[in-house]
């Protein structure tokens, strides 16, 4: 918990700013969330971060709701609400404004140019996300093996990802991990 007056404003400022740099969606911002929540502010431990990531992946709705869990850890319900709105609303309004501006420029080449140039960046960010959460989650060799198995399974087959998550939970429960 931060010691200064009201942690809510810290959450709003942190996630409001972060959302503007979340190129490629919420999963691309996970290393930054980890850096701020674990390394800078010590809102969560590494283990707790891996937990909230798992919970957010398991629950329905947009993956961005990991910030709801981080916000709750910092300042309860108000924190959860503030973090979620700060992460979601500014960019949504930005998208609304830009889509209004773009209406007149149908067929312009620059939107495609921007899109193409952001693709490698967002893939790099997602890769970094995977690395950061794996360092938090994969502490033991069986855990690493489970992660790799899940990756191969999800990459090569069309199995419903939810089953893979539940299978991981069952393996964990059985004490293998």
């Amino acid at each position: 918990m931060s010691s200064d007056g009201n942690p809510i404003w810290g959450l709003v400022a942190t996630f409001g700013l972060m959302s503007l740099f979340a190129v490629g969606g919420a999963n691309a911002a996970i290393p930054e969330m980890h850096r701020i929540a674990v390394d800078v502010h010590h809102w969560l431990t590494d283990k707790q971060f891996a937990d909230v990531f798992a919970i957010s992946q398991l629950s329905p709705g947009p993956n961005v709701l990991i910030v709801t869990l981080i916000g709750y850890a910092v300042a309860g319900f108000a924190g959860a609400f503030a973090a979620t709105i700060a992460m979601c609303l500014p960019t949504a309004v930005l998208a609304y404004v830009v889509s209004g501006l773009l209406k007149g420029s149908r067929g312009a080449r620059w939107p495609a140019l921007i899109r193409t140039s952001l693709v490698p960046l967002s893939i790099g960010l997602m890769g970094a996300s995977a690395l950061v959460v794996s360092q938090a989650a994969d502490g033991t060799w069986p855990a690493v093996v489970l992660t790799l198995a899940a990756a191969v399974l999800a990459f090569t087959t069309e199995i419903n990802p939810l089953w893979i998550l539940l299978a991981g939970g069952c393996l964990g429960l059985s004490g293998v991990i």
């Binding site: 700013l17 959302s19 503007l20 979340a22 190129v23 390394d39 707790q48 891996a50 937990d51 990531f53 798992a54 919970i55 992946q57 398991l58 329905p60 709705g61 947009p62 993956n63 709801t68 709750y72 850890a73 609400f81 979620t84 979601c88 960019t91 949504a92 930005l94 998208a95 609304y96 830009v98 889509s99 939107p111 140019l113 899109r115 193409t116 952001l118 693709v119 490698p120 960046l121 893939i123 790099g124 997602m126 970094a128 995977a130 690395l131 959460v133 794996s134 992660t147 899940a150 990756a151 191969v152 399974l153 419903n160 990802p161 939810l162 998550l165 299978a167 991981g168 939970g169 964990g172």
Partner: protein, 244 residues
């Protein structure tokens, strides 16, 4: 990825016309597929060919939805969306309610994809505002974010109370390992088209961003403020070389 059309067709056949979003398994099957499909599309070309193109483009669209309809439609697709809301959103908007054609949907999504922030959340706001202005945008946004947020808050309470129980610790440890694996698979799926094109500069940029954020743990803003101009410049030069 070319099989997406067939997949959609097979699904359409298997499901009764009036049936709603009630098949998590079938639906989730499409999650990764269509998310990656759209991603690739935004890589290569303007979103012309659409995965849902088996729907005739001449279909008369239904009258614009009201605020309450927008809220509930987005709440429903969001709560159905395990592992990603996008395919559910496409199905509800294009196939079920016919509020947009597949092409319009792709165009809107492409816009929301190159803007920062959670893509599907952006989409909800842009979509709602098309029909009912700012209020509509807000209604769709609240529908998409509100109900799952309340649900996740419930999970947060449970986690705060019981997160240290050994049983739950073991289960969560297993789930996080699997979740990381899913993320790794998504990254590789997204990388494939980039690798297949064999253009070195984007791959170098990708690795550089990965190293800067993942290994060096530099702040996101810093890395992007350097990487975005470079990537824009490279893409611009490469496209000009191709066209000349």
């Amino acid at each position: 990825m070319a099989s997406l059309g067939e997949e959609a067709g097979r699904r359409a056949k298997a499901i009764q016309p009036q049936e709603k979003l009630a098949w998590p398994q079938e639906n989730c099957l499409g999650v990764k597929q269509s998310a990656v499909y759209l991603f690739q599309m935004s890589l290569d070309s303007p979103p012309a060919a659409s995965p849902g193109s088996d729907i005739p483009q001449t279909v008369v669209q239904t009258p614009p939805p009201g605020l309450i309809a927008l809220f509930f439609a987005f709440a429903k697709m969001s709560l159905a969306g395990f592992g990603g809301v996008l395919p559910f959103a496409r199905r509800a908007i294009v196939e079920q309610h016919r509020w947009m054609t597949a092409d319009e949907f792709n165009e809107t999504f492409a816009l929301c994809h190159f803007l920062p922030g959670p893509n599907i959340v952006n989409l909800s706001f842009v979509f709602g505002s098309r029909f009912r202005g700012l209020k509509g945008g807000l209604a769709a946004f609240l529908g998409l974010v509100g109900p799952p947020m309340v649900l996740v808050m419930g999970l947060a309470v449970l986690y705060a109370d019981f997160g240290d129980l050994p049983v739950l610790r073991r289960i969560l440890a297993g789930i996080s390992c699997a979740a990381v694996g899913l993320l790794v698979a998504t990254v590789f799926r997204m990388m494939m088209p980039l690798i297949k094109r064999r253009e070195l500069p984007p791959l170098v940029l990708m690795v550089a961003v990965f190293a800067g954020i993942g290994l060096a743990r530099w702040p996101l803003q810093l890395v992007l403020l350097v990487a975005i101009p470079i990537s824009l410049g490279i893409t611009f030069l490469m496209q000009r070389r191709v066209s000349s």
